[in-house]
Amino acid sequence: MSIWAALAGGLVGTLVLTTTLRAANALSLTRIDLPFLLGTAFTSDRTRAKALGYGAHFINGLIFALLYYAVFVAIGYSSWWLGCVFGLVHGLFATTALVNILLPLVHPRMGQPETSAPHVALLEPPGFLMLNYGPSTPAVTLTAHLAYGTIVGGFLAWPA
């Protein structure tokens, strides 16, 4: 178990997570687009937002991998299946609190229930479990996070 393994797992995990979400998006299963949601916090230029958002998303992926690493070190055990459990918790946190409640609070262009006239949001609020982005969104998001957690856990359990 090492920081480098965590960072490598975070990189690969984020790649898989992002690809899963993007594929679900292309298959019209969901309208979730995390890089877009993140990037538009910095700019209203859609193209630039996506580029920035991908960067921010990968950095977040690495930070979360380090958090996983910290917990694994604290309990003195790591495995792919425990990473999968962490991924489930991570996914639930993302869909119920992180993206639904915390992101709108700091996102200057995202609507929230308190947004009122004369302002108007550029991005619709995600809603509970991000259901505003389509009924399959929670399932897709949780699946992607399960994959992320499993990969990070797997990298950290990899024999040195």
């Binding site: 309208r31 609507g111 006239a117 949001a121």
Partner: protein, 594 residues
């Protein structure tokens, strides 16, 4: 009179998230909380016994006059009695930064102007369209009505001591000259209720009026019928659901198109059909944030169903809107009372034209399309290329068998024409441009061969029919043919002859799969007016506009339809399409006479 008031007597207030209807007699008869499309807390307009309402009126006989505070959506009603005069100011308040505000809040300020007026009020909340029993309790001395995750406080200052009864909280007080009372309903949904102070409520009421005035001062329209246009854009702004940028078609559901009839629909959704008019109005009136927000919402919402478009989308961007009926008695017995809208799943080919036209207008206003949207617009054009030959339900969402509606074909032509223009300017991928060009030509041939009557010298409602449809005017307004085209001029003349009656223009004659009839469709009157202006008949258009503008109610609002015989409002209100069509017609006449 039978527990209901005429629809013409309603004014609307809102805060960008929800709307309330207030009758001339001071009764709040419609309020959906927390959002515009949520179940109601007050719905007496749909069932005067079970719907719930918030009454506030003099106990003595009175006359009432009202207005919006200039440049705002804050309503002011003045009651005059033999003993004195009292003024009530109503607003759904906009949060300020000075205090902790409730999630939603209705504030009613009562000022004695002269003499002494005995007042009575009664708050009768009925959650979930009247389905859920409210539970009355007290918090910090304030009556609070709760039901499931919802809570409404009933705060009264100088307005008598609130008295709980079996189904309401009521009180009486005297509004003497120089005195001021306040009633406020703070609301909470899935969070603790915030109980405001009187000072905070009054400050928020003033802040709300100032915020609306500031917004209105930013509007750029200087053309004719300025007051009507500005009131229309204020009404439209009430239909903008601020948290997402969507624009609802109307603030209400199931207000009847025919008294006692079954044409009662839920309009608290955003229709793609209205998108081009909406964006055009926002651009022309200097509402850039609203235009961008709406376009972004439109492209987000349609993503899940892409390349197909639903006829309408929920305000949160969702595509499902299952239709249900409620056990309410309906406005003056007009049942069924419906929520949701089954039209969502219909095939309406004109929407594709509206979407691409909207994107085209968006780029014309100087905005850029990102790569994803550009690709999707090109795919939309591809979809039109393969689908335009299907019969559909048309712009009016008939519930009879699908037909080859002419207006749908015209809008398919518009979709391909605008896509070709966007491709030519390098704004969307152009790989399939030759195919779009070929199909555009095929549509024009179909429309000219099968949708034009040489005998009547007009385009007709659907292929091989002899019927007329005011929706055909949209072909002209969106640029299917030049205004100088003899076929278009012939169509305007034929519609004038067959569908116009004074200032009123009917949508169409003939069956549509629903029992009963309907009133005159106001948007069609304005479209016809605009068509006159565009075909070189600006004086006639201005004359007609002078007849149409006074058809609004006393506070400048329009419903969807009007009964030509009585002048009564019919259908949901305020109706965004009516106000959009007014704005568009006023702008067109202004341009034609410049």
């Amino acid at each position: 009179m039978d527990g209901y008031t005429e629809l013409r007597n309603y004014a609307v207030i809102g805060d960008g998230r929800c709307c309330a209807l207030i009758a001339r007699d001071g009764s709040v008869d419609w309020l959906a909380w927390p959002d515009l499309d949520s179940p109601t807390v007050f719905a007496a307009v749909l069932d005067h016994l079970r719907g719930g309402r918030f009454l506030l009126r003099p106990e003595a006989p009175y006359t009432a006059s009202r207005r919006y505070l200039p440049g705002t959506n804050v309503l002011e009603t003045t009651f005059t009695t033999a003993g004195g005069t009292v003024r009530v100011t109503d607003a759904l308040t906009i949060p300020d930064s000075r205090s902790l505000a409730p999630a939603r809040e209705l504030v009613r300020r009562i000022e004695g102007l002269a003499g002494s007026v005995p007042m009575r009020w009664s708050v009768q909340p009925r959650f979930g369209y009247g389905a859920r029993a409210p539970h009355l309790t007290r918090r910090a001395g304030v009556p609070v009505v709760t039901s499931g995750p919802e809570a409404v406080g009933i705060c009264a200052w100088n307005a008598g001591e609130p008295q709980p009864t079996s189904d309401a909280v009521v009180s009486r007080f005297r509004a003497d000259a120089g005195t001021r009372a306040v009633l406020a309903l703070p609301y909470a949904h899935r969070e603790p209720l915030v109980l405001p102070t009187r000072t905070e409520c009054e400050a928020r009421l003033d802040h709300t009026a100032a915020t609306w005035r500031e917004w209105t001062d930013g509007r750029t329209y200087t053309g004719p019928w300025r007051e009507a246009v500005l009131r229309s854009v204020l009404a439209l702004k009430l239909l903008v659901f601020a948290p997402s940028g969507a624009v609802a078609a109307a603030a209400t559901c199931s207000l009847p198109e025919e008294l006692g009839g079954e044409r009662n629909w839920d309009y608290r959704f955003s229709w793609i059909r209205d998108s081009a008019f909406t964006l055009n109005a926002f651009v022309k009136l200097g509402c850039a944030p609203e235009a961008t927000g709406y376009f972004w919402w439109l492209m987000h919402a349609s993503q899940l169903t892409h390349p197909r478009l639903h006829v309408l989308y929920r305000l949160d961007g969702g595509a499902r809107a299952p239709e249900k009926t409620l056990p309410l008695s309906g406005y003056r017995g007009s049942t069924p009372v419906r929520i949701g809208n089954a039209a969502a799943d219909q095939l309406q080919l004109d929407t594709y034209g509206e979407l691409v036209q909207t994107a085209w207008l968006y780029t014309a206003a100087g905005h850029r399309l990102d790569a994803d949207i550009a690709r999707r617009l090109a795919q939309t054009a591809d979809f039109v290329s393969t689908s335009w030959q299907q019969p559909d339900t048309g712009i009016w969402e008939v519930r009879s068998a699908p037909e080859h509606f002419t207006q749908s074909k015209m809008m398919c032509w518009i979709a391909l024409d605008r896509a070709l223009d966007l491709a030519q300017r390098g704004l969307i991928p152009d790989q399939h441009a030759p195919r779009w060009r070929r199909e555009r030509q095929a549509i024009a041939k179909f429309v000219d061969d099968r949708c034009f009557s040489l005998r009547l010298n007009t385009y007709v409602r659907s292929a091989d029919s002899d019927d007329l449809d005011a929706g055909l005017l949209l072909g002209l307004l969106h640029g299917y043919r030049s205004p100088d085209d003899p076929r278009m001029r012939g169509t305007v003349a034929a519609i004038q002859q067959a569908l116009q009656d004074g200032p009123y223009v009917s949508r169409y004659l003939g069956a549509d799969g629903v029992h009963g009839s309907e009133g005159a469709f106001l948007a069609c009157s304005f479209w016809f007016t605009e068509a006159l202006a565009r075909t070189g008949r600006a004086d006639e258009a201005a004359h007609l506009m002078d007849q149409l503008v006074p058809l609004a109610n006393d506070v400048g609002l329009y419903s969807e339809e009007i009964d030509p015989a009585t002048g009564d409002f019919l259908g949901n209100l305020p109706q965004g399409l009516s106000h959009l069509a007014l704005i568009s017609a006023a702008c067109a006449i202004g341009q034609a006479t410049r």
